[in-house]
Amino acid sequence: MAILIDEKTRILVQGITGKQGAIATKEMLSYGSNVVCGVTPGKGGEYVEGLSVYNSVREALQLSVIDASVVYVPPFFVKNAVFEAIDAGVKLIVIVTECVPLHDSAKIIAYAREHSVRLIGPSSVGIISPGRSKVGSVGGFDRAFSPGKVGILSKSGGMLSETALLLTQRGIGQSTAVGIGGDVLIGSSFSDLLSLFEKDEETDAVVVFGEIGGSYEEELAAFIKHKNCTKPVVAFISGAFADHLPSIPLGHAGAIIEGASGTRTSKVSSLKAAGVLVAEVHHELVDLLEKALSSWNGKQK
C-alpha cells in the first residue's frame, strides 16, 4: 500500500481557515484525498469547502475519526497546535509551516517520540501517494506525479516534484513521495522513512534528494551500510556551490556549513561508500535509477 497514506487515510487540517490551509484543502479534495474536517481556534462552526471547522482537535475527534493531521498554522503557533493533536491522539502529523523556531521543533519532536507519533516536517511540502491521496501542499502541478513503484524522499518541496517529473517523463511512477523538510531538526529523517519503504511491497527503489548541512544524509549512509535496506537507493545532493560559504544558511535553514561537517563532499563520499548511486547532475538521477532497477529486477527473478 505505499507508505504513510493511501485513499483511506482520514485527514484533519489544522489552520484550515488560513489562506494556505484553505487552498491546500481545496486541492487535496480535488485530488481525491479523504479530508474530513478542519480546526481553527475561534472559528468553530464555520465551513471550508463544505467541511466543518472546529475550535480544537479534541472537539473534532469527538465527532470524527482522524488518521492524520496536516498543520498550516503560523510558525509561533505550531508547537501548541502539534501538542494539541498529539494529546488528542492523532498518530500521523505533517507540519507544512516553515520557519518554526528550533527550540519549538526540538520540543515537538521530543513530545511526538514520547507518544509514538509519526511526525513529518516542519517545512514539509507534504506526502503524496500518486493516484490515491495527498496530504499537504504537494502536487499542485498535475504533470509531475504518477502512480508506480519508486519512493521519493526530499528535503526540498520544489525538488520533490522536479524529481517526480523526471521519473514520470521517463514512464517511472511513484509509490509515495515525501517532503521531509529542510530544517535543522525534522520529525522523520531519510533513514526513518527508508525503513518504511524497505517494508513496503509496492516500492522497488528509492530516490533521495539531499542537500548540504546537518547529518541526515550521513545517517542514511550508515543505515544502508548496516544492511537495513536491501532495495536500490539513488541520490542527488545539492549545494556544491556552498561548500566554501561557511555559516550562511542557503535555501533552507538546515543548509548551513559549519566547519568540515555537513559538506556535499562528506555526504557524497559516505553515500557512495554505502553503495548508493549518487548523481552528479540532478537529471542523471533517472538514468542511475533505471540502471539500479534493471539490475535489482534481475536479482529478484
Binding site: 494556505q20 487552498i23 510558525p75 509561533f76 516553515e98 520557519c99 518554526v100 523556531p101 528550533l102 527550540h103 519549538d104 526540538a106 520540543k107 519532536i109 521530543a110 513530545y111 511540502v125 501542499s137 502536487g139 499542485g140 502541478f141 504533470r143 509531475a144 526540498s156 518541496g157 520544489g158 525538488m159 520533490l160 516534484s161 522536479e162 517526480a164 523526471l166 517523463q169 529542510g182 535543522v184 531538526l185 534528494f209 542537500e211 548540504i212 547529518s215 545517517e219 542527488f236 545539492s238 549545494g239 556544491a240 556551490f241 560559504l245 561557511p246 555559516s247 550562511i248 544558511p249 542557503l250 535555501g251 535553514a253 538546515g254 543548509a255 566547519g259 547532475v281 540532478h282 537529471h283
Partner: protein, 405 residues
C-alpha cells in the same frame, strides 16, 4: 545569525552571567580611558580561532596603545573588522569548556562539557573522547542540576559541583530564553577573587526563525560579515510582507549573471549547475512559499539594479503551490522598473501551477517591450537551462565587450 563577542556578552550580562570588565573601541581615541593594569585585546570578528591568528593579544597597560593601533589597522586593511574589545585580564589557573547546540543526529539540544577548555574541542574530542562529554538534553523537561552533577562526576571534577552546575544551568537558561541556536563558552574560568565562574570567550548564534519574538537590536549580517546595503534592502523586502519568502537570503557576489531562484532546494541545485558550466553569479537570492507579485517585483528591481550584468536567470524546480503566474508577473513588473532597459539575455526556467498562462503573458510582454527572453518549461531540465544561460551570457559579453567592472 552569529553574534560578535561583545554582542553575545551583553546577552550573557542580561542573564546574570559574570563577564570581564571591558571597553569596546572603534577608534584609537577611545583607548585613552583604559586603565586595566593587564588587558586582553580582541578583534571583533565572527571568524573562529582568533587566538591562533593573532587576533587576541594579551598586553600590559603600557604597551596597550601600540597593540590596539596595530589591531585596528589590520582590521581596516583587511576590511574584516572595525571594532576591538579590550577586557581586564582575569588571573586563572584552569580553563573549562561548555556549549549548547542542536544535534541533527539526536534531533535534540545537546550540552558538551569538558574540564580542558581553551583548546580546539573537536581535536580534543578526537584524541581524548573521555575528556569531552556530549549529553542529550530532554527539551521538554530541560536540563537539570542532577544531570550536570553526574556529568561532572564522570569528568572527575573534584571541586564544588554545586556552584559550577548552577553556573551551567544559568547558561542553559540563556540558551533557551533567547532562542539561541548555539552558545559556546570556550573558555570559562574560576575567579577566586570574586569566587565566581566567569566567561572569557563566547560564540553565540541566534535562531533566525525566532528573531521576531525577541527585541534584539543587533546589526544584520550575511554569514561572517556585516550585510551590505543591497543585502539589507533585500531582507527588508522580506520582512515587510508576510506572504511567502523573498529576499530573506541575499548574498551579493562579484560575478555577472543575476539570479532569481525559486525554492530552497532548487536554488542550490540550479546554482551548482551554473557554476559547473563556468557561470559566475552576481548574487544569490531566492523566493519561495507562494510570495506576492509585489514582493517578487521588489526583489527583481533590487537584484537587477546591479551594473555590468550579462544575463538574468529566473530558475526554479517544479513548484507545488507557488503561483507561477503571480510570481512571473511580479518579475515582469520589476524588469520594467530597471533603467537603462536591460538588453542582456533573460532565461526563465519554471514549471508549476498556472505556468502556461504565465509563459503566454511573458511571451507577449517580451515582444511588447523588446526583451531578449528565453522561456523554458519542465521539458528542459534545470541543468540544461544553466548551460543555455551561461552560453547566452558569454555571447552577450563578446558582442557588447565585457561590461563587467
Amino acid at each position: 545569525m552569529k553574534l560578535k563577542e561583545y554582542e553575545a556578552l551583553s546577552l550573557l550580562d542580561e542573564s546574570g552571567i559574570v563577564t570581564p570588565e571591558r571597553v569596546l573601541l572603534t577608534s584609537l581615541k577611545q583607548a585613552a580611558s583604559i586603565s586595566f593594569p593587564k588587558l586582553v585585546i580582541k578583534a571583533q570578528t565572527l571568524e573562529k580561532k582568533r587566538a591562533k591568528r593573532g587576533l587576541v593579544i594579551i598586553s600590559s597597560l603600557s604597551n596597550a596603545i601600540e597593540k590596539i593601533t596595530r589591531l585596528l589597522n589590520e582590521g581596516m586593511r583587511k576590511g574584516s573588522f572595525s571594532e576591538v574589545l579590550v577586557e581586564a585580564y582575569v588571573e586563572h589557573t584552569h580553563e573549562y569548556y561548555v556549549s549548547f547546540s542542536f544535534d541533527t543526529g539526536r534531533r535534540s539540544p545537546v550540552i558538551i562539557l569538558s574540564l580542558e577548555g581553551g583548546v580546539d574541542i573537536e581535536d580534543l574530542g578526537k584524541k581524548n573522547p573521555n575528556k569531552v562529554l556530549i549529553h542529550t538534553i530532554n527539551s521538554l523537561t530541560g536540563l537539570t542540576k542532577r544531570e550536570i552533577v553526574i556529568l561532572l562526576e564522570q569528568l572527575r571534577y573534584d571541586k564544588d559541583k554545586e556552584s559550577l552546575s548552577a553556573f551551567i544551568l544559568t547558561l542553559y537558561d540563556c540558551f533557551e530564553k533567547n532562542d539561541l541556536s548555539l552558545l559556546e563558552i570556550n573558555p570559562f574560568v574560576y575567579n577566586p577573587l570574586s569566587s565566581s565562574y566567569l566567561v572569557l570567550d563566547v560564540h553565540m548564534a541566534l535562531d533566525d526563525s525566532a528573531l521576531s519574538r525577541h527585541s534584539f537590536s543587533f546589526k544584520e549580517r550575511t554569514g561572517l560579515r556585516e550585510s551590505n546595503e543591497r543585502e539589507r534592502a533585500a531582507h527588508e523586502i522580506d520582512k515587510n510582507d508576510y506572504r511567502g519568502v523573498a529576499g530573506r537570503t541575499y548574498l551579493d557576489l562579484d560575478g555577472d549573471i543575476a539570479l532569481l531562484a525559486s525554492g530552497g532546494g532548487a536554488s542550490l541545485t540550479a546554482v551548482d549547475s551554473l557554476v559547473s558550466y563556468g557561470g559566475k553569479l552576481a548574487n544569490y537570492t531566492e523566493y519561495s512559499g507562494n510570495p506576492s507579485a509585489e514582493k517578487v517585483k521588489k526583489l527583481t528591481s533590487l537584484t537587477l539594479s546591479k551594473e555590468g550584468l550579462c544575463g538574468c536567470w529566473v530558475v526554479g524546480g517544479t513548484a507545488n503551490f507557488t503561483d507561477i503566474y503571480e510570481t512571473l508577473k511580479g518579475f515582469s513588473l520589476g524588469l520594467l522598473s530597471i533603467s537603462p532597459k536591460p538588453t542582456y539575455p533573460i532565461v526563465v526556467r519554471r514549471a508549476g501551477p498556472r505556468d502556461k498562462e504565465a509563459f503566454a503573458m511573458l511571451r507577449q510582454f517580451a515582444l511588447a517591450h523588446g526583451f531578449d527572453m528565453h522561456l523554458h518549461d519542465e521539458s528542459i531540465p534545470i541543468s540544461y537551462s544553466a548551460k543555455i544561460m551561461v552560453e547566452l551570457g558569454r555571447s552577450y559579453k563578446e558582442k557588447h565587450g565585457n561590461t563587467h567592472r
